[in-house]
Symmetry: C2
Subunit: 437 residues, 2 copies
């Protein structure tokens, strides 16, 4: 086992360059850990002339990633190009069909084509490793795919997008608006020029869909996720949450229910005293609940060149340790062909506590009218309080309700009723509460 | 690959029985995940007649675990007997020498003989898996041994003993004394009849020594750990910590310093706002800092039959997935023969912040005398405050100091000086502060 593992890397952006750097600077350690050297023998990127500050002299340059993917001089194809179609998909598929192991950080591609790619990998008996695709450096794929063998997962909850968690953390810490916070995040490089994909929850949804498949042995269903971003979270929500002992986080939640599997991404109130509430800034976290192990929480860097590279290098090292022909278990925990169809739970059936913030006319009878609509829909209240809000016109006031466990459908009916009653001066804000995690 | 993996289990206590139960109840899932069935073909325990509520009819009974360890009818020997010498050590060694893979939960045995056993495993090319030995169900071994390949660890910090964390959590939540809390923990089964091993930190030290070896590629040195238990933590400490925004945890800390590796187990003040401070009750946590990945925190159940069984089953599944002859990388990350000697850092050189609680005579000049001793030893103070303590005689008062970063040696000299000055009416309490983690 002293032949080097030959690695071809497609995509030399921040992560790709960092992988090349780590493989070079940690060559001795990795060889000792893996029992064989790891050599980068091929690379591909858009611009051959760009100086990336890395030594690529020992690697063959490919203008075409697909040519690299089927090159006879690589054992592993590392896809770090990004994109859910086009060259990334084509090159990755070519590598698998050519019997190369694959390591990828591409959550969008897996969310869309993961099952088909897993089938291709399993057909050829090669590994498809993707630790870096979900929660960056946190070893959540390895944990769910390997360490939790035999466990039945009931629930996965994650802070999976660093940009959103950074914005929500700063909004709370510095009492600044979502818009100002976003601008600052863009300036600091924590948010993209077009931040829609992050702040509206799509990135979280891609990652969640992969965890859902691992958790429940179902086909990936990224387009079937209830989605709500953080762009309508206001200082009033943050302050009201704090007053009640909660913090607002953008969570991805996947859980087994009687009617099917619930997959949802939305701003969520979590108790201040919970561990997940303490996860601040760009840090990610994943909480997993199972029947045997119980509750596990993993917290760490969800993005960044080095953290992501660490996950990619871990995936490459796992391949280096395995002998030719070794089968490391199925890509998504269960053989891809045996993944069950995804059966979506009805969002309106979602049961839980709710935080409801209403801006109402300051007049007699408002509390009574609100309380009656709640009672009519069998919603039991934990609290209903009026909160001071100096930003409001004196003719208006803010009423905050916290409900005991009820259903999404009941809450929607009640809020529709209150709206129809003419009590509101602004759209109602409804935020789900997760007490566990 | 459809031959079953044949498992022999020695030790049928809580964990052993739970492993048998999980392997039976999750047989279908495990077969799908591993690509082959897992069968318990042999068992050994002290009392063959005891009803454990599990079906052992398909397994051969061995009165002698050593005979089971070398039986031709097993591929994997699972050691759940406990004890750092005697039958456990002998059986485990026999299994390795006979070319059987081994799974163990025995931290005491590994802390004492881990390197020799790893050498035996690596010589035979078999796996020695021990996820359950440290932090129960938390996949910290897999994370450090596999996911962090190529990373250089600078620091590992852990809440590794559920009994201690349970006692400290309850002391804070209910303002009861250490003694009352311990009695209650014993009544509830969270503490042993003889709790010394847990509360004096020995159990934490065993687990820490294994993590240290994985972190730094050094030989295990469990007897070279600075040890301080929680039995002298009082309500006065808990209250003073809370007033300063800290919580007291029993931490195991291993870190690389200029003078060598620091391994220490002691009560520690951690900031209330840190994630690790929120880890309450019997839950365990491990925080790992590395050069590439950054900071990772794992939180989960550190003990209990099911959580421990989950780790054991994960280890067995990893073996089931590997083909005969497959080598999963070295037992302690680096080949056992290449593990470096452990070079101990001097505890007196330990640098950090300190909490010092002094019970002093209530008279003029006390503050000045204390402050002078601190200044004489180049200790810069963050705060020095007098705290009300109704449990004290009115002629005495409590003074709490928090220092900026200084050394253990300086603190000891300063406290010795204050003691010699005749200011104290009781022994000084010194608790280290960890701001990270």
């Amino acid at each position: 086992m002293t032949d080097p593992l030959r690695v071809g890397i497609a995509g030399l952006g921040t992560v790709g360059a960092s992988v090349v750097r780590v493989l070079a600077s940690k060559a001795t350690e990795l060889q000792r850990q893996c029992g064989r050297p790891i050599a980068v023998t091929g690379v591909s990127a858009r611009d051959a002339s760009r100086d990336r500050g890395i030594d690529l002299s020992a690697a063959q340059w490919f203008d075409d990633p697909v040519a690299l993917a089927k090159s006879d001089d690589i054992d592993v194809f590392v896809e770090l190009m990004g994109g859910d179609e086009g060259p990334a998909r084509q090159a990755l598929k070519t590598a698998l069909d050519s019997g190369r192991h694959v390591v990828t950080a591409n959550k969008a591609l897996l969310a869309k084509h993961g099952v088909a790619l897993a089938e291709a990998a399993e057909k050829k008996g090669v590994l498809l490793n993707y630790e870096a695709a979900v929660a960056g450096g946190i070893p959540v794929i390895k944990t769910m795919r390997e360490a939790m063998a035999g466990n039945s997962v009931s629930r996965v909850v994650g802070i999976l997008n660093g940009t959103c968690n950074y914005i929500l953390s700063r909004m709370e810490a510095e009492a600044i608006s979502f818009e100002d916070c976003l601008k600052d995040a863009q300036r600091l490089g924590y948010a993209e020029a077009d931040p829609t994909f992050d702040i509206e929850g799509n990135d979280t949804a891609h990652k969640l869909s992969i965890l859902t498949s691992l958790a429940f042995g179902t086909k990936i269903a990224a387009s079937d996720i209830y989605l709500e971003g953080i762009s309508n979270i206001s200082q009033a929500d943050i302050r009201a949450a704090a007053a009640l002992g909660y913090r607002i986080k953008l969570l991805g939640v996947a859980q087994r229910t009687d009617s099917g599997i619930e997959q949802r991404v939305h701003p969520t109130m979590v108790p201040n005293q919970s561990v997940i509430a303490q996860v601040m800034g760009v840090t990610n976290a994943v909480a997993i609940s199972t029947d045997i192990l119980g509750d596990l929480l993993l917290v760490g860097p969800g993005a960044g060149g080095n953290a992501t590279a660490s996950a990619v290098v871990g995936d490459i090292a796992d391949i280096a340790k395995s002998q030719p022909g070794f089968q490391h278990g199925p890509v998504f925990g269960w053989p891809a062909k045996e993944l069950k169809p995804y059966k979506k739970a009805q969002m309106r059936a979602h049961a839980g506590g709710y935080f409801i913030r209403l801006t109402v006319h300051d007049r007699a009878g408002v509390f009574a009218a609100i309380a009656k609509r709640m009672a009519d829909n069998d919603i039991s209240l934990e609290s209903i309080v009026q909160q001071a809000d100096s930003s409001l016109d004196p003719s208006q006031k803010t009423v905050v309700l916290v409900t005991h466990e009820t259903t999404e459908a009941a809450v929607r009916r009640a809020v529709d009723g209150i709206t129809k009653d003419g009590q509101l001066t602004d759209k109602a804000q409804v935020i789900r509460i997760e007490r566990a995690g």
